[in-house]
Each structure stands twice: as C-alpha cells, then as structure tokens.
Symmetry: C2
Subunit: 125 residues, 2 copies
Amino acid sequence: MDVPKFKVGKPHRFSRHPESGYAIKGRVWLEKDGELYLGGGRVILLERVDELGSVAAAARSMHLGYRNAWLWIEAANRLAPSPLVEKTKGGAGGGHTRLTEEGRKVIRQYRELRARFHEFLQLEG
Amino acid sequence: MDVPKFKVGKPHRFSRHPESGYAIKGRVWLEKDGELYLGGGRVILLERVDELGSVAAAARSMHLGYRNAWLWIEAANRLAPSPLVEKTKGGAGGGHTRLTEEGRKVIRQYRELRARFHEFLQLEG
C-alpha cells in the first residue's frame, strides 16, 4: 500500500484553525541544471499565449514588458526537452505564436503539481 | 484509510531521473495575518541563538547584521502566540538571550514541516 511517510502519524500542526490567523504558504517551481525553467509567472504567460495567440497580447494582459516576455519564453524554450512556444509564419493575418504539444503538456503537468502542492499545504495547515 | 488524494493515481511527473537535470524546487514559510512569521532564515537565526546563547554571535555566524537580527526576532516574537526569544538579566557574566519553550516548539514544528515538504518534493520529482 502506497502511503507517503509524511502523512503517517499526523505530527504537530502549526494551526488547525484558519481563524487563528496562522497559515502555511509556499511556492514550487522547476529548474533545469540549477536554472529557473518554469514557475508560476512563466506558466501564466504560456497560458495567455495559448489563449490569445500572441506574445504581445499575453504580455500586456499581465503587465509584463514585451521584451521580458520573450526573454522568459526563450529561456523556457531553451531549457525544455523541446520548444514550448513556436512562431508560425505567413497567412493573410501574418504569423502568430502558439504553444507546441510539449508546451501544452508541461502546463498540464505544472497545474497538477500545483494542485497537489495546495493539497499538501491544506493537510499541513 | 487516510490516503491523501494527491498521491492516488500517480499522475504525470516532470522527470523521474535526476540525471535528466530537471528538478522540482520549493519553499515553505509561515505567515500570521498575511505577514511573514517564520521562514528558513528566521528559523536558522533562532537555532543559532539557541546554540550560541547570544544574538550578536548568532547574527555573526550567518553574516546577518545585529540590528536586522533583532528586527527578525522582534517580528517573530510579536507574531507568535507567546514570545520565542527572551533576554535574561544579571548574573556574573551579564544577561544573555535564550529561546523560550514556545521558541523550541516552533523550531521543532518547522523542521517537521520542512522534512515533510522535502518528502513531497522527492515524491514529485
């Protein structure tokens, strides 16, 4: 039976009562060879690129500079097993930018990780 | 049977192989009414005060300014249910500073939280 050790025994908790004002907070992110690969900000940017089909619109929607948005995307693309975002060229409306299959997969994985982390924090809190 | 949901089904993992270079990283800390109460730095400071019996020595040992060390301790004392650190007065060698029972308890709890969080990251990684 596959029960994680940190759950067994339910040791001290800081506070079981939200009204106490005490809360356990946290962050998780992914690194590749010690470099930031994906954290909350980059994932939101990727999600917005997916929704809006444009890096300019995605950046604007999160009050991020266009140049910074591209730096984030280029770093994530470089560190990923294969690129997460790609530009498509041509067509009547000019090119646009979209997520690759790898990009969609990694967003899904990150959301699952974040959900499990929130459950961890709930169990601890 | 008390099995946390986030463990059931073992969904996608980012990487099962440390040699891939991918790693999940994270931080946890405690807040009281939205203010930082205890994180890794403050806990190390409290541990050093406990070991060394002096805020000056504890601050020096972690390359932290004496004034900042006291600001951290005062904030933690203020946010704790009861003070974590107290000064004792008098005696031949003058007063010294030591952890209260509450201070020792909270360090123990934080270490346990951190250990369970490391297990969580291991399981995810």
